[in-house]
Amino acid sequence: MKKINQNEYQKMVSHLGKSPWITNVIWAFFVGGAICVIGQVIIDTAKNMGISQEDAGCIASISLIFLSGLFTGFGLFDKLAKRAGAGTLVPITGFANAVISPAMEFKTEGYVLGLGAKMFVIAGPVIVYGISSSILCGLIYFFMKGGM
C-alpha cells in the first residue's frame, strides 16, 4: 500500500459523518427552553405561595434535579437527551444526570468503591473547576473592593 499522508487522510475523513446541526439546534432550543419554562413555573408558583425570590429559586433547582434524577432512574433521560443534546445538558438537569448515571452504572462494583467512587467521574471536573473559579473570582472581587 502507498504510504498514507496523515494530513490528506484527515481531510478525506473530515467530510464524512457530519452531525445534522440544524435539527440538533432546534431540538436543543425547544427542549432546553421547555426545561427553563418548567423552572420558571415552579418559581412563580412558590412566590405566589409567599416564598421569597431566593428560596423560590432554590425550590426550582431542587425540583429540576429531582425530576432529572427520577427520569434518569426510569431510563428515560438518555432517550430525550439523545435528541435534545445541549437542551438537556446545559440546564441543571444535565448535571444531575451526570452524577446519577454513573452511580447507577457502577453499583455492581459495590457501594463504596463502585457507586461512591465513580459517582463523580463525569461531574467531578465541573465541581473542581467550578469551586476553584468561584474562589478565584471571590478573591478578585475582595481585592477590588479594597480588601477588608
Binding site: 500500500m1 475523513v13 464524512l16 459523518g17 448515571s101
Partner: protein, 334 residues
C-alpha cells in the same frame, strides 16, 4: 511444502474445515436486517446475570455450546480454544473458559479477534498440533459502553460517525477432517496508525489497516478484488467502508464487491449511526449470514477481514492516536 507466499500471506495446504459454527445476538441485532440468519437471540441485555460482564460471558458460552453441538463433538475433543473479547483482561472469555475448561490461548486484537483466532486456529490444525480447535469472540453493548465510553443512562449525544457495539458472540470450530467451508489462505495484519484521534470515528481509524492488509494480500497472491465473490470487512461501518473503497482505489484496486459486517447488521432506522462494531459484530455475521450462504453455495470464495481499532481510553486521554489492525482469511466452499 511451502506455507508462505510473499511477505504476509499464509497458505494452509491441509485446508482446515469449518465443521461447526453458531451465532448469538442481542435484541437490537435480532431486530435488524440479518435476523433470519442468526441462530439465537438472548432478548434482554442482562441475560439473567448480575453484571454486564457476566452477561457477555454467557453470550460466549451459548455460542461455543452451539458450535460444539453443530460439529457433533464434545468439549473434550477440542485441542485448543483461541479467543478473546474487548474487556480488560478478556474477562468474558476467561469466565467462559471456567466451565468450558479446554486448553486456552487468549487473544486480544480488539474487533479483529474473530479473524485473528481463525488464523491461529488454522495454523494450529495445519501444523498438525490439533484435530479440532474452537475460535470464539464476543462483545456486549453495555459492558463496552461502561469501559470505553459513558454510563448507559448518561444523556449524551452520539456523533454520526460513532458506531454501536454489537451485543453478540460467534464461535467457529475448525477441524482437520470433515466437510464444509475451508480456510485456504490468510494474511496477518500490521498495526497501521493514520493519526486518527477521534474516539467516535473508529471506521476512519481502521480503514487504512484494512487497505494495507488487502493490498499486501493481493500483491502476494497476484490477485485482484475480482478474483473473489465477496470481500467482507469486520466493523468499518458505513464511513469506514467508503474510506476503504477510496483508499483501495488510490492503490489501483476497484472493489465493488466490498461489504462490511458493521454496515450489514443494522438498518438505517435503528439509530446505530455509522453501523455496528465490536468483536461480536464480525463474529456473529460470519457465523451466520456469511458461513450459511457459503454453505448454500451463494458464494464460493470470499475474503473475510475482521478489523480492529486498538483504542485505549487511557492513551486517548494522553493525546495518542488510534492504531488499527486487520487480519484476513480466505474462505472457500469446495
Amino acid at each position: 511444502m511451502t506455507k508462505r507466499l510473499g511477505n504476509n500471506t499464509l497458505l494452509f495446504p491441509s485446508k482446515p474445515v469449518i465443521t461447526g459454527f453458531y451465532s448469538v445476538v442481542g435484541k437490537k441485532e435480532w431486530e435488524g436486517p440479518l435476523r433470519q440468519w442468526f441462530d439465537l437471540t438472548v432478548g434482554e441485555s442482562h441475560i439473567g446475570e448480575t453484571s454486564w460482564e457476566k452477561a457477555e460471558s454467557k453470550l460466549m458460552e451459548l455460542s461455543t455450546n452451539g458450535a460444539l453441538e453443530m460439529a457433533g463433538i464434545s468439549k473434550e475433543e477440542i485441542s485448543v480454544f483461541f479467543g478473546g473479547d474487548l474487556l480488560n483482561q478478556c474477562i468474558a472469555t476467561n469466565y467462559t473458559l471456567r466451565t468450558l475448561a479446554t486448553p486456552f490461548i487468549g487473544l486480544y486484537g480488539a474487533c479483529s479477534t474473530m479473524a485473528e483466532s481463525l488464523i491461529a486456529g488454522a495454523m494450529c490444525i495445519d501444523g498438525g498440533f490439533a484435530k479440532n480447535v474452537l475460535c470464539a469472540t464476543s462483545s456486549h453493548f453495555c459492558s463496552a459502553e461502561r469501559q470505553f465510553r459513558f454510563p448507559l443512562e448518561y444523556g449524551g449525544q452520539r456523533p454520526q460517525s460513532s458506531q454501536w457495539t454489537v451485543t453478540g458472540s460467534g464461535a467457529t470450530i475448525l477441524s482437520e477432517n470433515g466437510t464444509g467451508v475451508r480456510i485456504t489462505r490468510a494474511a496477518i495484519g500490521k498495526v497501521i496508525d493514520a493519526g486518527i484521534q477521534d474516539l467516535n470515528n473508529m471506521g476512519a481509524a481502521m480503514a487504512p489497516a484494512a487497505c494495507d492488509t488487502l493490498c499486501a494480500f493481493f500483491e502476494d497472491t497476484n490477485t485482484t478484488p475480482w478474483n473473489y465473490d465477496l470481500i467482507v470487512t469486520g466493523d468499518l461501518g458505513n464511513i469506514g467502508k467508503d474510506l476503504l473503497r477510496e483508499l483501495l482505489f488510490q492503490n489501483g484496486y476497484a472493489a465493488q464487491n466490498l461489504e462490511d459486517c458493521g454496515a450489514l447488521i443494522f438498518s438505517e432506522d435503528q439509530d446505530a449511526h455509522a453501523g455496528g462494531s465490536g468483536c461480536g459484530c464480525s463474529a456473529s455475521v460470519l457465523n451466520s449470514y456469511l458461513l450459511k450462504q457459503l454453505n448454500q453455495g451463494k458464494w464460493h470464495k470470499i475474503l473475510f477481514m475482521a478489523t480492529g481499532a486498538l483504542m485505549s481510553p487511557t492513551s486517548a486521554l494522553q493525546g495518542e492516536s488510534i492504531p488499527g489492525i486487520a487480519h484476513l482469511v480466505q474462505l472457500e466452499k469446495e
